[in-house]
């Protein structure tokens, strides 16, 4: 505690739009499109074909390796298995389901009592979480079972990330206020798997209500602490959060387990509770649909596979959108096609108006150094961008570009609006493609 990570910025939070709005259950759409690529790593292979009946919670995609299975979020009939646009900007194989609105539950969905859960071994719990299709729900979508099984024996500190530092997003805030028990219960399952007595919940101090509710739900002696951290973007970034809570620096290029830490998003913790106690795989999540031109911003409990189109229709907007983002404005992905659907990692859909436009033509770096003061990874964005303009791969590597977490602090703060993060994505690609022939 009491460590403050270096750098960071304070963008307008804009959380007031939705932070006091009770989560509403979004009416199930008639058609659901579930992309078969919802985690970092290998995409799933579809297990169903056109015409197959499906039920709620039925496994419809799976694969070997670094992959979490995918389940149907509604019951009905498979209309098609085809390529569809995905919210990351590519086309991926997707299962299109016609909803019959009967909500027939799959027979594999069976609740467990506390005694049954207590009797489970850590590896059995990991298997249940694997089967539940859990991935990191903060956006990185790393398969949870891999993080769990890889961390057993190495991890001595587990942290629930309820930081939620992105502007506009209030999904985790609402989750902590409305389901504190489930979040804490999920954390206890993780602690049991790792064999730990202590757990942390890291949360920004701009959510006093959530902090109060979480604290009031703690039981003395359960070893869980709620750590209120100063509100600063990117407080919810994994490495920064670990540093803020433990003072440990995740080594460059390494995973949190290297310093004995494991971080799970608050929504992931709740999903762990759901799959362990209710037997319900990850088929829905809270999504904040907000933005400066939105008429009725909302927190919605949305089935995975709901189109952005439907979500836009549910909130309304006062002018034609300038950008529609999957995620928040600092790291979200701008969409070109609103038929894309929500996936496990989408915690928000942000709709921005034209006043968010800023000039990016003919930009001139002033060498003001504000990007260096803002970089939470202690990098030098100004020189990284210079290296990119020089186009020399060795120079790019020497500028530590691969350590960039693409949080956007530098580009946010740049007075000349130099497209820094965009440049670094290009640069990383250059480094990766230069490395490939050497491997072969």
């Amino acid at each position: 505690m009491a460590f403050s990570f270096f750098g960071g910025v304070h963008p307008k939070e804009n959380k007031f739009y939705t932070c006091d709005k009770q989560t509403e259950v979004f009416p199930e759409p008639d058609v659901i499109v579930i992309p078969m690529s919802q985690n970092i790593g290998a995409p799933c292979m579809p297990l169903v074909k056109k015409g197959d009946p499906v039920t709620v919670g039925q496994k419809i995609g799976d694969n070997q390796g670094l992959c979490a299975p995918i389940h149907s979020s509604v019951s009905g009939t498979v209309k098609a298995v085809e390529m569809r646009p995905h919210n990351t900007g590519t086309n991926v194989m997707s299962v299109v389901i016609q909803n019959d609105h009967l909500d027939t539950l799959c027979e594999t969905v069976k609740p467990r009592t506390q005694e049954e859960v207590d009797a489970l071994s850590p590896m059995e719990l990991v298997d249940i979480i694997h089967e539940g299709g859990l991935v990191g729900m903060g956006g990185a979508t790393f398969p949870t079972h891999v993080k769990l099984s890889g961390g057993i024996g190495k991890v001595d500190t587990v942290i629930i990330n309820a930081g939620e530092c992105e502007p506009y997003i209030t999904a985790d805030d609402r989750l902590c206020r409305e389901h504190p028990d489930e979040v804490i219960s999920g954390l206890k399952v993780i602690m049991k798997i790792f064999g730990l007595k202590e757990g942390h919940i890291g949360i920004e101090d701009n959510k006093p209500e959530a902090i109060k509710i979480l604290k009031s739900n703690l039981i003395n002696g359960d070893g869980i602490s709620v750590d209120a951290l100063p509100a600063k973007y990117p407080q919810g970034a994994e490495k920064q959060l670990i540093y803020a809570i433990t003072g440990r620096e995740v080594p460059s290029g390494g995973l949190p387990a290297a310093v004995g830490c494991a971080v799970f998003n608050a929504a992931t913790a709740k999903a762990i509770h759901d799959v362990v106690y209710k037997g319900m795989p990850l088929i829905s999540r809270i999504v904040t649909v907000s933005g400066d031109i939105v008429m009725e911003p909302k927190n919605l409990l949305v089935p995975i596979g709901t189109s952005f189109d439907d979500l836009l229709g549910a909130v309304g907007h006062s002018e034609n959108p300038y950008k529609v983002l999957s995620g928040g404005p600092m790291m979200g992905v701008a969409q070109y096609d609103l038929s894309v659907t929500t996936t496990k990692g989408v915690n928000a859909v942000t709709i921005l108006g034209h006043k968010n436009r800023y000039a990016v033509e003919d930009v001139r770096c002033l060498r003001c150094g504000k990007c260096i003061d803002a970089c939470p990874m202690h990098l030098m964005p100004v020189l990284m961008y210079k290296a990119l303009q020089d186009g020399d791969v060795d120079g790019l590597k020497a500028s530590n570009m691969m350590d960039c977490i693409e949080c956007g602090c530098c580009a946010y703060t740049c007075p000349a609006s130099v497209p820094l993060v965009h440049g670094f994505r290009v640069g990383k690609q250059l480094i990766r493609s230069a490395a490939q022939p050497a491997k072969k």
């Binding site: 900007g89 969409q335 030098m380 100004v382």
Partner: protein, 332 residues
């Protein structure tokens, strides 16, 4: 493709999709606002010609930048106000009696040769205003005719024939003597000197505004002024260390140089450590020139020299990345 209910022209771009309200233009505007108190004081001390010289200089800078972009068919960005800042700063480092043609030539040199030929804003190696001043020393007499404060009247706008000259505090100190004006006078600016450099107080007020607006940090000025103060205190010429130090700090162009010239974004280091070394270097060279040089004011050349070292300083000052291996961290 799938059917969509709504059709919009959506913009796609790389994140972030939000931007801080600070832009190049607002920064330059803040710098101009910060220079305003000292400018108003110069009009009070030196008469209306202080106003006209600065306006002519700013107009010339804007014109030359516009002309260059026009001739080179480049996108003209004079609205970023950086040319105005250069023009005002160049006027600040000239005596009020400077003929208009001289300062216009200085502007030409600063904008075309120093700034635009190197690629425009952000690409120049040395500070344009100071380089312009160095160029204008081709007319040394014009550049070192100091008027007595309070003498100039409205007629001075057009003619500088009947001025009464006076020595600057630094000229006295260069001979090893204490200046004939009080420290208080120097601090307020009631002394001979360049147009904008005389009032330390109002320059500090302007700088405080820039600190408040977070346009600048205090690293470079503190390192620079601190170094000069320490060296002057350790090696005084005369009996009164404190008075000598104060005269070194407030008697010449140090305040203007340290607060507004050395801190120029483009020509100063971007790293923290680099900025501190840069400030210390400026301070040492300033004192060396003032003590041993043939010319009594060392600030502008000190900054120009240190400008040329910026690339090296940034290499030295490179921060240790987050999560760097311990060995590498210790090596730094």
């Amino acid at each position: 493709m799938a059917k969509m209910k709504y059709f919009y022209e959506l913009t796609i771009s790389s994140s972030p999709h939000m931007h801080s309200p600070v832009t190049t233009q607002t920064i330059m505007r803040d710098v101009l606002i910060a220079l305003l108190p000292a400018w108003i004081a110069s009009i009070y001390f030196f008469g209306p010609r202080a106003f006209t010289v600065a306006v002519v200089s700013m107009a010339a800078c804007v014109f030359f930048e516009w002309l260059w972009c026009r001739l080179m068919k480049q996108h003209c960005k004079v609205y970023d106000l950086s040319a105005c800042v250069t023009g005002l700063l160049l006027a600040f480092v000239c005596p009020v009696t400077i003929p208009y043609w001289t300062i216009i030539l200085g502007d030409l040199f600063a904008i075309i040769l120093v700034k635009m030929l190197f690629g425009g804003l952000g690409c120049n190696i040395v500070n344009p205003a100071l380089a312009g001043r160095a160029f204008m020393f081709s007319w040394p007499v014009l550049m070192s005719t100091w008027v007595k404060v309070g003498f100039q009247n409205a007629a001075g706008v057009l003619s500088t024939a009947d001025i009464v000259t006076s020595a600057t505090p630094l000229a006295n100190m260069h001979q090893g003597a204490m200046p004939d004006v009080s420290i208080g006078q120097m601090f307020l600016g009631n002394v001979g000197g360049c147009l904008g450099e005389t009032s330390a107080l109002l320059l500090l007020v302007g700088f405080a505004y820039l600190l408040y607006r977070k346009v600048l940090t205090a690293r470079i000025p503190v390192a620079y002024i601190g170094t000069v103060a320490v060296l002057a205190f350790l090696f005084p010429l005369g009996n009164d260390r404190i008075a000598w130090m104060a005269a070194q700090l407030f008697g010449g162009g140090l305040m203007l140089g340290a607060l507004f010239m050395a801190t120029d974004y483009v020509t100063s280091p971007v790293t923290k450590l680099g900025q501190i070394i840069y400030g210390v270097g400026c301070g040492v060279i300033t004192i060396l020139i003032r003590y041993f040089g043939g010319y009594n004011e060392g600030v502008s050349y000190a900054i120009l020299i240190m400008n040329c070292c910026v690339v090296l300083l940034d290499r030295i000052g490179r921060p240790v990345k987050f999560g760097a291996p311990k060995k590498e961290a210790e090596k730094k």
